[in-house]
Symmetry: C2
Subunit: 227 residues, 2 copies
Amino acid sequence: MTPPEAPGQQSETALRADAERNRERILAAARRLYATEGLGVSMASVAREAGVGKATLSRRFATREDLINAVFADRMDGYATATAEALADPDPWHGFTRYIEAVCAMQAADRGFADVLVMTFPTAEALEARRAESYQGFLELITRAKTTGHLRADFVAEDLVVLLMANAGVIAATGHDAPETWRRLVGQMLRAYATPDAPLPPLPEAPPPTDLDRAMTRFGRPATNEL
Amino acid sequence: MTPPEAPGQQSETALRADAERNRERILAAARRLYATEGLGVSMASVAREAGVGKATLSRRFATREDLINAVFADRMDGYATATAEALADPDPWHGFTRYIEAVCAMQAADRGFADVLVMTFPTAEALEARRAESYQGFLELITRAKTTGHLRADFVAEDLVVLLMANAGVIAATGHDAPETWRRLVGQMLRAYATPDAPLPPLPEAPPPTDLDRAMTRFGRPATNEL
DNA sequence: CAACAAGTGGAACGGCCTTCCCGTTTCTAT
DNA sequence: ATAGAAACGGGAAGGCCGTTCCACTTGTTG
């Protein structure tokens, strides 16, 4: 079919079949690299991983941000979904805690996603819109959870942002050596958000010192922090 | 004087006067850059900032770690001092909270120091020894604070490490736009550590959304996370 | 004050990254 | 089937980083 696919797809005119295939290969490669290494990987290495020339990558995604936006467009769906599910929970406080855990788990599962949420550079409207949408739902969730008396009155929406930043720090530091450490942080933060009588999931154990030490004496890269 | 200065100084033979001066200039420059940019800055830029040739820098500090160790050797004193002061506090719980705040404040005041504590690569024995020493004092502080009934029984020493990682994440993300955000995190973590009846300092306010947004849409570098 | 060792900065090199250009290949529409 | 457009990949140019080498300068010591 020659007519432009879905309106407002991404480019004006549809891509040729082989070009579209390469586009997918690039996205798959970037997804892989970002997930394990974080955003920070060079464009050249993405092209290498995808098995295409650097020029092809540039042609498809002019800037690093373009690529990141394309890669995480669908991941953002999961983010929005989590909000919807939390709002659907009959118990607002339970929905709240599950939401926090779900989002932080998404960060842990994909280092690039952790970077995107905390981000460190201007996002495209596509991502931004969905984030804003999710944020609105979260605001609603907060007010509901407060009315149950389980969420402290001084909790504000910005606390989620702070938590995401903190969680990204833990994930970046522990890497693959103590990958469950973030759960300890989240468990404690939930304690801090909860009123004294709120039900809480059990606090996850801290990783054994040896694992943490290994995580602390590891070579990293500027990345995360670095881009 | 020709005889070697203090035994086990750092090099075998004393440096010539001008060389020593350059060494200081390099250290001062690195201190400046690390504090604001984090460890991640290139060796070349340190040399540039110091006004010396790259060769001179290499001669004085063969590796990046050598330089970092030298820069933060004295900063580590402050770390050890904080432990001693906390132990000297007649109220162990008060000492505990002040210790946490002091260490996190040190991270906030010096981005490089935040990176060093969380670190991301092998430290020299000099730093490592002082950190271990401080850690021992912290263990003592924990048991004391638990006996007062103000520190939860399930708090473990590794929780400090987790907090330092989380705090580093917040500091890296908020940068200079919302530089007080870390206080909110620390305030909430203290809540999580405390038993219900423990006295707590008031929870610092979250930064206004505009500042946080600005912090979230900023260009960073690899760094930090990045090295 | 001389002479030697210690120290210096610039130049050159290799590695990695990005951007731009251009000759070649491959799709697609007729 | 074929011509023209679309897409390709490799290579050149330029930038930054870190390392090493070398001829020159400057302390230091007797």
